[in-house]
Symmetry: C2
Subunit: 303 residues, 2 copies
């Protein structure tokens, strides 16, 4: 019998190769990487890992290629205790791979290859698993499956959270089914045009979401619930080694807050702390904090 | 009983990840790779693959890490029929990995991580294998093993060829033991200072080599034997997809010519043809030609 998990995630799973160097090279140059860190990535997948560090049960649905990178992606999730029974393998497909170069200033240059694994289909999801979960987390990729899952979630009162990185054509039908729109500055601009966070949030809430949040890296984040004031949460300032996956960490922290029944301000503050603590080390996952670390960190910060 | 191979190579084995994109990104940007080609690399290793395509028996000595990349490196050589009995694995080490970005103009930007596998030691080589070979090919890496092997080669009349890419401290003791110095422009400049190819060749021949060649990409190559005139071989002009590994291909072609007993001019011409044909496809190895292809190509070119 299936044990229900608290959070089901559907999204793109990638293998990240993260190389560190002093100075990003000009075209046609050769440079030496000081580190090369290889690990799983992908917005939803890494958010689930953040949640696992906070001791939340999670399952992923996605598809990887039948290659070494796929093996690494799975191993990285299994090690963290993410349920991977729904992480399917396209034997003849190749996995998504991202090569991420981080310079001494913490700037990231990303080379991404999408691979050619078959996308997840609507019938690859498990309706019972979703109906039994408390939260469905989506990143707008694997869109057929995501849409089918969001409909099931809506029918069963399962809360839906979207990590909006880039607004794609296939994202639009998903938006009315999303309860928490937690999006990047780029997504907000694509959706609502140039404008203040306040203007953009007002438009984002027109989808019918219960809350909208715009994350803006070192500028912090802005969030709003319908009929309430816009809230701003500054980013916590820590010495940054690597910002890879900060957005994913933020989503993990935000979902943790939802599961605790916290209000928007508290969710954003906790999420910002998880994201800040993640920057302590290279890669999207290595420095993701345990709950006690987040609590200890927040206790040192002014409210 | 060991079957002697014609060419023994000692050098660095790497796994190359070669990504193709339209325009090389500025720092802090994200870009999409159109292709991602994963294959073995390393100067000597790829030269041996070039020789295998020309039906020459080869063995490699080197060390790889106990990781997926090491598995890929070995598989890439085994598939081509390179004897890998001397390709040792450092179970706890990581393999050398190079991420190579090729833009639409065919320019290559290289990010290299050396890994941390133990270097090959002098007692990791097989003196009998070297003594029984006709040619020992070195790239100046794995230097302790290379030096020991070059001494054995010298004692047994085995011809030594050095692929000089970068002149390192540990390359110097090797130089007097090298019969054919086939080096990059960068190496020639490091060794002989700025100057004409003629001036640089004169200095390179002071090591006692039987021939020195400087490869200069699209400018072709210059070569000389002691007491003879400098020869120039223009690069053959073909539509270039990717120049990765052209130098390695050149070395394979040059060594093939040595095995046939050809003179310097003929060796350089054949080597230039192998290098030109390699540029037809992505990666350092995919388009390496069979003998019939080289012969057919050369028959269409003016002598």
């Amino acid at each position: 019998m299936m044990v229900p998990v608290q959070v089901v995630g559907i999204g793109q799973c990638a293998c990240d190769l993260i190389g560190a160097l002093a100075v990003y090279p000009q075209v046609d140059q050769k440079s030496e990487l000081q580190h090369l860190n290889i690990e799983g990535g992908g917005p939803v997948a890494s958010a689930l890992v953040a949640l696992r560090r906070l001791d939340i049960s999670c399952a992923i649905r996605g598809r990887i290629g039948g290659d070494d990178f796929g093996d690494r992606i799975r191993a990285g999730l299994v090690t963290e205790g993410v349920d991977c029974n729904g992480l399917y393998v396209d034997r003849n497909g190749s996995s998504q791979v991202a090569f991420i170069v981080v310079d001494d200033a913490g700037r990231r240059t990303i080379f991404c290859h999408r691979g050619n694994s078959r996308p997840l289909q609507a019938d690859d999801i498990d309706p019972e698993q979703i109906a039994a979960a408390r939260i469905l987390h989506l990143d707008g990729q694997q869109s057929d499956a995501a849409l089918a899952a969001a409909r099931i979630a809506r029918d069963h009162g399962v809360v839906t959270v979207l990590d909006g990185g880039t607004l794609r054509d296939q994202t639009w039908p998903l938006l009315p089914l999303i309860d928490h729109l937690v999006v990047s500055e780029a997504f907000a601009r694509q959706y609502a045009g140039a404008g203040t966070p306040e203007q953009q949030l007002a438009q984002l809430l027109e989808t019918g979401a219960q809350a909208a949040v715009i994350t803006a890296g070192p500028a912090g984040c802005w969030g709003q619930e319908p009929g309430c004031a816009v809230q701003h949460q500054p980013a916590f300032s820590l010495p940054v080694v690597d910002t890879t996956g900060c957005g994913d960490a933020f989503h993990g922290g935000y979902i943790y807050g939802l599961l605790q029944g916290w209000g928007l301000v508290e969710r954003m503050r906790f999420a910002a702390a998880v994201a800040a603590l993640k920057t302590r080390d290279f890669g999207g996952r290595r420095a993701l904090p345990a709950l006690a670390e987040v609590e200890a960190f927040l206790s040192t910060q002014a409210q």
